[in-house]
């Protein structure tokens, strides 16, 4: 099992969600987050005071997938979320030891 964490542009959430549904992925957790990588922030003016906003709103999608789904999902996310500009985001993959379904104690991939 692998955890897929994808940080993407807020405007790309619907496209990514749809692409993941199309390859048969049913569960995901979506978080509204703030952060920055190489993309610089923007400036705001309030009554002449200039503020640099360097923590930019982003969307983070978290999923734990069976290993045969991982590469497919990565390709789906990249295809749907890419604009080609700085700020498109990143995907992180992590090994997961186990999964437990709280309702009935199922474990491993069958709990996903």
């Amino acid at each position: 099992m692998t955890k897929v964490e994808a940080i993407i542009q807020t405007s790309k959430l619907d496209a990514v969600k749809e692409a993941l549904h199309e390859i048969g992925i049913e569960g995901m957790t979506v978080l509204e987050v703030r952060g920055h990588g190489r993309q610089k922030g923007h400036t705001e003016f309030y009554r002449g005071r200039e503020y640099t906003v360097d923590l930019i709103p982003k969307i983070k999608i978290e999923m734990v997938l069976a290993d045969d789904m991982v590469e497919k999902s990565v390709q789906a996310i990249v295809a749907a979320a890419r604009t080609g500009k700085i700020g498109d985001g990143k995907i992180f993959l992590t090994r997961v030891d186990d999964a437990i379904r709280i309702r009935n104690d199922e474990r491993g991939e069958s709990a996903l």
Partner: protein, 477 residues
């Protein structure tokens, strides 16, 4: 065909009946008025009815205006200021405005009204009307001949409420609630009440309509409300010092949306503030209403236009701030100036206050957190000066010679002396505000201390002063 002929015949009969019925009372009148005595009685009764009707109309407008001016403080100013602070201070900031609605009202009933509008000397009223003694439903002809004195009293109270509330913008996010209450109560007694007495009270030094020594044109409170509160605000900002982290830490408004709603409520409420200052529902109220609206609109364009040129974008906060600056500047002028002059005053005030807030404040580095001085002190001062220039005797023939001939009002009409009188009024307001505020801040600082502790300031006023949070979202159902 017969039907067609019938209709005019019926119509003619109908008209005849109406005429006869209409004449009937005249016949009765002719019989009744056979003696001159009863005729004069009838005329007296008619005159009384006409006066009652005018009184009812004026009173309806003045009670409406009173409610509009209260709405400027709550929720208008509370929202305007509340949106400009960080979210940990939203309740603390709104409470400062709301507290004035309660505290100043009680103070006004006990002694405030008497000190401002009771008989006294040129500088302050006395205690004759303490506990509202003698403030009944009969009009006071010196103040407003057609409305109950209690209407005048409650209308003036709304001004006494908003003026100290305006100051709270200067010490936002860092003053103790207890110190704020004590300071503003004392300020109302020792700065506002004398200032109101000088400009509007019987025997006041600056009163233009009741023959003061230096007649200052201030229709709705440019000096009394805005200069006095704005200049006091600057003194507060300097005395209390900057907020922790200012100007290094970013402190953007937590909700320009709240401020936006507040500014719109202020604009509407200002019609009561300015047009209500005619103290009657006649043409003067209309003139002030139009000038108020035009001033606000032009200033919104003035501020956002200047911003557009400098920053490349017209901001929502800039546009609403401009409208408020225009309303401040037109306050002394409304009721004295033409609609076209109001446009000019608004445009100047909008650009001038933009410059004060964005350039002058940053140059000198004081932390007038919500720009109470930059908008009210600066806008009020420029408005009072421009009133001396643009005041027109065609709009309001306030100065007359011994024979009742109308004299010129402002500089453009040839009364250069008025500009000097305006300067006297502005100077007195500045000096009284600076000296009074400094002394009172010192006293309150000694008694209870002005600022919250650093930890409390970091935590925010909502939790540290009131034990609540403005936005408390429970995650579970």
């Amino acid at each position: 065909m017969t039907e067609r002929r019938l209709i005019p015949r019926i119509a003619i009969r109908f008209i005849l009946i109406v005429i006869l019925l209409g004449l009937a009372p005249l016949n009765l009148y002719a019989q009744n008025s056979s003696t001159p005595d009863s005729q004069s009685k009838r005329i007296a009764a008619l005159e009384q009815q006409a006066a009652d009707a005018k009184s009812s109309a004026d009173n309806a407008w003045m009670l409406t205006s009173s409610a509009l001016v209260l709405m400027m403080t709550g929720p208008g100013l509370a929202l305007f200021y509340g949106g400009l602070v960080r979210k940990k201070n939203v309740l603390g900031t709104m409470m400062q405005s709301f507290a004035m609605m309660a505290v100043i009202t009680v103070l006004w009933a006990i002694v405030g009204y008497s000190l401002a509008f009771g008989a006294g000397n040129g500088f302050i009223g006395g205690f004759h009307n303490a506990f509202l003694r003698g403030v009944g439903l009969q009009p006071d002809v010196d103040y407003a001949a057609t409305i109950p004195l209690q209407t005048f009293m409650i209308y003036q109270l709304m001004f006494a409420i908003i003026t100290p509330a305006l100051i709270t913008g200067a010490f936002a996010e860092r003053m103790k609630f207890s110190a704020m209450l004590l300071f503003l109560i004392l300020w109302s007694l020792f700065v506002y009440d004398p200032m109101a007495h000088m400009v509007w009270g019987k025997g006041g030094l600056l009163n233009a309509s009741l023959g003061g020594r230096f007649p200052t044109l201030d229709f709705a409170g440019g000096t009394v409300v805005h200069v006095s509160s704005g200049v006091s605000a600057l003194v507060c900002a300097l005395y209390l010092g900057k907020r922790l982290g200012y100007p290094k830490v970013a402190m953007p408004p937590h909700s320009v949306v709240l401020s936006f709603i507040g500014a719109c409520l202020l604009w509407v409420g200002w019609f009561g503030f300015n047009a209500g200052s005619a103290l009657a529902a006649g043409g003067l109220a209309t003139s002030a209403f139009v000038a108020t609206h035009f001033g606000a609109a032009a200033a919104a364009i003035g501020w956002s236009g200047a911003e557009w040129l400098r920053n490349g974008k017209p901001s929502a906060l800039g546009t609403i701030s401009g409208a408020v600056a225009g309303l401040v500047a037109i306050t002394p002028a409304a009721g004295f100036v033409s609609p076209m002059s109001a446009l000019v005053i608004g445009l100047i005030a909008g650009a001038f206050c933009f410059w004060m807030v964005t350039k002058v404040k940053l140059r000198f580095g004081y932390d007038d957190s919500l720009d109470a001085f930059g908008v009210h002190g600066a806008g009020g001062t420029i408005g009072a000066l421009l009133t001396g220039i643009f005041a027109s005797s065609v709009i309001n023939p306030i100065f007359k010679d011994g024979n009742g001939n109308v004299l010129p009002s402002g500089l453009l009409e040839g009364n250069a002396h008025q500009l000097l009188n305006q300067c006297v009024g502005i100077a007195i307001a500045w000096v009284l505000a600076i000296v009074g505020t400094l002394i009172l801040l010192k006293i309150v600082d000694k008694l209870v201390g002005l600022r919250v502790t650093d930890e409390q300031e970091t935590q925010g006023l909502d939790l540290s002063q009131h034990g609540e949070e403005g936005y408390y979202w429970e995650t579970s159902a």
